[in-house]
Symmetry: C2
Subunit: 230 residues, 2 copies
């Protein structure tokens, strides 16, 4: 069984857990607090970022998209119509664009700030950056959410799955990203019916179940978080 170093509320880590879930492969999870800069973890990934997969032979594979590409090359290609990636280079580029949108753009404009201010800072020692949440950073992140939900709503209303006719990495990355915001009660679903219908579909998949039972210390999810008919 392979091992994933992860944090339960990082979208990048949730994305990889979903990929393993879809492929029906169990993994061992180790929760890492990257801000502690643990020596043994930095030896695996000098960048100190999550996720890190210990792959075959305990070789560390670093970063969400790099792990996803590795899993496609070593698993996906054998999955036929259950493959989460496309065959055609243009279709692959579109899937990669969307994964990058949710795991880099949404992350840097919205999720990273909300998770840091609302989840991590209250738990972190002051010397490592802990303390009271910065309400300005929370406000800025919240004002960006709408744009990302609007785009998701547009994609979900235009295509059956976000990158086309089949479920792909794009859906798993987007759902991973949005699920973190949903845990925090930051998503206003009323204005985005197509996104809501699509998210319900992803959320109902067996691969999603472990994410719906994730809990972080000091902060329970909103009441509808694990509800499949919200």
């Amino acid at each position: 069984m392979l091992t994933l170093f992860h944090h339960p509320l990082f979208a990048t880590c949730r994305f990889i857990r979903l990929v393993f879930g879809e492929y029906g492969e169990e993994i061992a999870l180790i929760e890492e607090k990257p801000w502690t800069r643990r020596k043994e973890f930095l030896a695996l990934n000098p960048a100190g970022t999550l996720p890190v997969l210990l792959a075959e032979g305990d070789v560390p594979i670093v970063g969400a998209m790099t792990i996803a590409e590795y899993l496609d090359e070593t698993r996906g290609v054998l999955k036929r119509d259950r493959r989460l990636f496309a065959e055609d280079p243009m279709d692959r580029a579109e899937i990669r664009r969307l994964v990058d949108w949710y795991l880099t753009k949404t992350e840097s404009e919205v999720s990273r700030h909300l998770v840091r201010e609302r989840v991590l800072k209250p738990l972190m020692p002051e010397a490592l950056g802990g303390g009271s949440p910065d309400s300005g950073a929370i406000r800025a992140a919240r004002s960006n959410i709408r744009q990302h939900m609007k785009y998701t709503n547009w994609l979900a209303g235009t295509r059956h799955w976000l990158a086309g006719a089949r479920i792909t990495y794009a859906d798993l990355a987007a759902a991973a990203s949005i699920s973190v915001l949903d845990y925090l009660g930051e998503v206003d679903w009323r204005d985005h019916p197509a996104a809501r219908e699509w998210y319900t579909r992803v959320k109902s998949r067996p691969s999603f179940r472990p994410l719906l039972s994730d809990r972080v210390r000091g902060l329970s999810p909103v009441s509808h978080y694990a509800d499949l008919d919200f």
Copy 2:
């Protein structure tokens, strides 16, 4: 001929120009100022980021690594020992890790800030974020450079090319990133002899020539920038 929307001092764009150069394929360049949020450009890439490649059939391919993957799938696989990527999934993961290091980590910790403060802000209208450079941001970025040069020096001293025995995307991404800092005179080469020897090797390749004649308005490169024996 394909078209690349780029900015001459963005490492992500330089990386793609190097890839085309190595494969001996000419491209048309269109310089884009993404902060103007030009409507026609946003239609190609709603994220408003660079680089964007207009590929076959004028389909936009968005983002440096996504373009690099596309070029590998449509060109690289045919290049045999001139391919800039590896065959083995683990080797591919290591190349992707390093590309991400230089184009995401170095970018967000160093290059983005120095380019914004020293190159773009003096040229940008105040309404779009222009104005005097923020000396605090410059200082913070500068204090991060050393770590990236130290890591590059370690890689270059341990391996012949940064990801192993052959030149790959990892070298082109790293050299693209460092070349921007070198243009700005921000690299102290004396302390990093292995990185210097490696960079001289990359810089001497024909694919690098167009980058060495790049100039941005209002800011000439340091005197050794285009010198192959610096």
